[in-house]
């Protein structure tokens, strides 16, 4: 059975009397260990879909079942458990807490998950080391380059060993070379550590190259799902 099964997912925003159909009848699966890309023009509903997958938003019709459980019907408590242990989110704008150092940012989810305090420091260092950021641990986000900041964000997303990484245009704020680095990192985690990845991007070419499955969205509808058996 697929790890993630999206069925008949519809999302409507109401702006006054205007209805915006952000997602219309979305159906697709994500297998365990898959690298899935969601591509499409700006405003096509990519972020809306990813946020529904991430349990950040539950107000939609249809169902998003992860490991057999529909997250759209989860309680607030179950949702935070889900966000803590099942998924790790990465954003275009990194979303690091600016007042905290890199290592403190990585430790934050470990605090929420009750990770043993003695081991927290070690775990955070290990994660930063794996991201090649060992010497940036005590830097504040403002002292980091875009690529470094995004790698801290990835380390933070991986802290509680999630099954799925959800990345919303992780390279959107980065130059080409750095983007390639980040994509390579994600690909490495996918291949070496078998972490399932769902990445939103508008770079169709890269998406097609690195992912097993590319979902093309347009106006809230899936118009094509292409596969690549050997990314």
């Amino acid at each position: 059975m697929a790890l993630v099964k999206v069925s008949n997912l519809c999302k409507t925003y109401y702006k006054g009397d205007n209805k915006i159909y952000a997602l219309r009848n979305i159906n697709f699966d994500v297998e365990e260990g898959e690298f899935v890309s969601i591509v499409g023009k700006s405003g096509s509903g990519k972020s809306t879909l990813l946020n529904l997958l991430g349990g950040m938003d539950t107000t939609a019709e249809g169902s998003v079942s992860v490991g057999g459980v529909n997250i759209l019907t989860m309680s607030e408590k179950q949702l935070s458990q889900y966000r803590k242990f099942t998924v790790g989110m990465i954003f275009q704008s990194f979303n690091l807490i600016p007042s905290r150092t890199a290592i403190d940012n990585v430790k934050l989810p470990l605090i929420f998950s009750n990770y043993p305090r003695r081991l927290r420091e070690t775990r955070a260092c290990e994660l930063l080391y794996n991201m090649g950021l060992y010497n940036r641990a005590l830097h504040y986000p403002s002292e980091l380059s875009g690529g470094e900041a995004q790698r801290v964000a990835i380390a933070r997303a991986l802290a509680n060993k999630p099954k799925i990484i959800l990345a919303d245009e992780p390279t959107g704020n980065l130059d080409t070379a750095t983007s390639a680095e980040i994509i390579a990192l994600l690909q490495m985690f996918n291949q070496k550590h078998h972490i399932t990845i769902v990445m939103v991007t508008h770079d169709k070419e890269t998406a097609g190259r690195v992912s097993h499955k590319t979902v093309l969205l347009s106006d809230g509808e899936i118009i094509k799902i292409s596969t690549n058996p050997n990314p």
């Binding site: 946020n51 991430g54 950040m56 938003d57 607030e76 408590k77 935070s80 458990q81 889900y82 966000r83 803590k84 242990f85 989110m89 954003f91 704008s93 979303n95 690091l96 807490i97 007042s99 905290r100 934050l108 989810p109 605090i111 929420f112 998950s113 009750n114 305090r117 933070r156 509680n160």
Partner: protein, 465 residues
């Protein structure tokens, strides 16, 4: 998640806005401080002042005088009797006085017996009143807890107790108690040991039959001569400026039976001479009554007046003083409550500001799996910390301020009363309770902001830049 981890998150936030944290805490400090000051003042007044005043015989003592003594009293049995007294006057004799002593509200009642005398000690002399002290008085001020020497052992012990003030009048000082300021020269300093047990001479006047033929009444000469009685000093009391109207610092005290050993003309009223005989109906001129509690004073006064006695007490004034304190206390209470309300609003305001500033941060925390309770806990801990710091500072400030106010008040009031009073009762219990209260109130103030923070929509928070 352990509370200590949340505490760390909370402290980060507090440190980020040090100035605001300080100001908010200061607000709490003012509120808690004035509230604590108010409570300690209320406690101080009831516990210390009222009690010390009530325990002092000045506020529990009544002196009832037979109208027969006072010819100026219109109701006097020997006065002009124009406004005739309709109350039957009860004679002041031993059985009546011991009857008064049996009243439930009365602690002790005894006749006031005194003999005018000149006291001679170490070659100095002073005019004084030799005053009879019943043995029961050993349990009351100024005779309770005599530190220099002791109280009488029996009612007929031929010893006296003098006051430090009287020795001072004779320019006799006790070694090591240096307060000879303003006494001028000729001061005699004696060690305490040599004063206790020292013999003094009581000089009294008695009728001298041998002088009856020689004294010339037209020259106002009286047929009197001196009588000398030697008595040892049992102890020295220090009754300050306090005087009950019975036992004054210008008195020399002697046990109630021993006073009979000292011969002295016994005229209680000038009318005794007019009448040519000593009033036999009233064995005593006046009686001193101590009530058990200050609140009994009015009742006992009323009953004594019903007995046809003329009653004098300073204790009536105590109610006025207590009313004044009560009024001051209400002002404090009002200030305290207003300050507390303002400081609670300060906390609410600070935390709501924090929500706006940290909106995105809260969104991030939620996206990382932070639960609503965890987010709330951060706010609770922040508020608790502000409350704790504010509480500690407030209590410390209130303690200092109350000490300052107390010592200032003592320079004013203490001078009149003659001893220092504790206006504030600042117990450890109060301090701890105030700090705890501050923490609890602060956490309660944070409930609304915390709930708002916890219910932030993470998506909405993250979307905003």
């Amino acid at each position: 998640m352990k509370a200590s981890d949340i505490a760390i998150l909370a402290f980060y936030n507090l440190r980020r806005n040090t100035m605001r944290t300080i100001l908010t805490s200061l607000g709490v400090a003012v509120g808690i401080g004035s509230l604590a000051a108010m409570i300690s003042f209320a406690q101080g007044i009831t516990e210390n002042i009222s009690l010390s005043m009530e325990n002092n015989d000045i506020f529990t003592g009544l002196t009832a005088t037979s109208r027969a003594i006072d010819p100026d009293d219109p109701g006097s049995s020997r006065g002009t009797n124009i406004l005739s007294q309709n109350k039957e006057e009860v004679p002041l004799n031993d059985s009546v006085i011991s009857g008064i002593g049996e009243w439930n509200e009365v602690a002790i009642a005894f006749p006031i017996v005194s003999k005018p005398a000149t006291i001679q000690l170490a070659g100095r002399s002073v005019k004084a009143s030799l005053k009879a002290v019943p043995m029961e008085m050993g349990g009351y001020p100024p005779f309770i807890n005599i530190t220099r020497g002791r109280f009488f052992k029996s009612a007929d012990e031929p010893r006296v107790i003098v006051s430090r003030q009287m020795l001072q009048q004779m320019k006799i000082l006790i070694e090591g108690e240096s307060d000879n300021v303003g006494l001028g020269g000729d001061v005699l300093v004696l060690p305490l040991d040599s004063v206790i047990g020292k013999e003094l001479t009581v000089v009294t006047r008695v009728f001298d039959v041998s002088k009856f033929s020689t004294a010339n009444p037209r020259k106002n000469e009286l047929p009197l001569s001196n009588e000398y009685t030697s008595l040892r000093i049992a102890g020295i009391i220090d009754n300050g400026a306090f005087s009950s109207g019975v036992f004054n610092s210008s008195d020399v005290f002697i046990p109630s039976k021993a006073i009979d050993y000292v011969p002295c003309i016994d005229l209680r009223s000038i009318y005794d001479i007019m009448d040519g005989k000593i009033d036999s109906k009233n064995k005593y001129g006046s009686v001193h009554v101590r009530v058990k509690e200050h609140r009994n004073l009015k009742t006992v006064k009323f009953w004594l007046e019903e007995m046809g006695l003329q009653v004098f007490s300073v204790g009536d004034k105590l109610d006025d003083i207590e009313n004044l304190f009560l009024m001051l206390d209400s002002i404090f209470a009002a200030v305290g409550v207003i300050a507390l309300v303002v400081s609670v609003l300060g906390i609410v305001n600070t935390l709501i500001m924090a929500i706006y500033e940290r909106r995105k941060e809260i969104g991030i925390m939620k996206s990382l799996g932070g639960t609503q309770f965890q987010i709330k806990l951060i706010f609770y801990v922040e508020a608790a910390f502000i409350g704790f710091v504010g509480g500690v500072c407030g209590v410390a400030g209130a303690k200092l301020a109350s000490q300052a106010a107390s010592s200032f008040a003592n320079t004013q009031i203490g001078k009149i009363i003659g001893c220092n009073l504790e206006f504030f009762d600042f117990s450890w219990t109060l301090a701890l309770a105030a700090i705890l209260f501050s923490v609890v109130v602060s956490v309660l103030a944070s409930v609304y902001p915390a709930n708002r923070a916890a219910s932030i929509d993470p998506l909405d928070a993250l979307r905003r830049e």
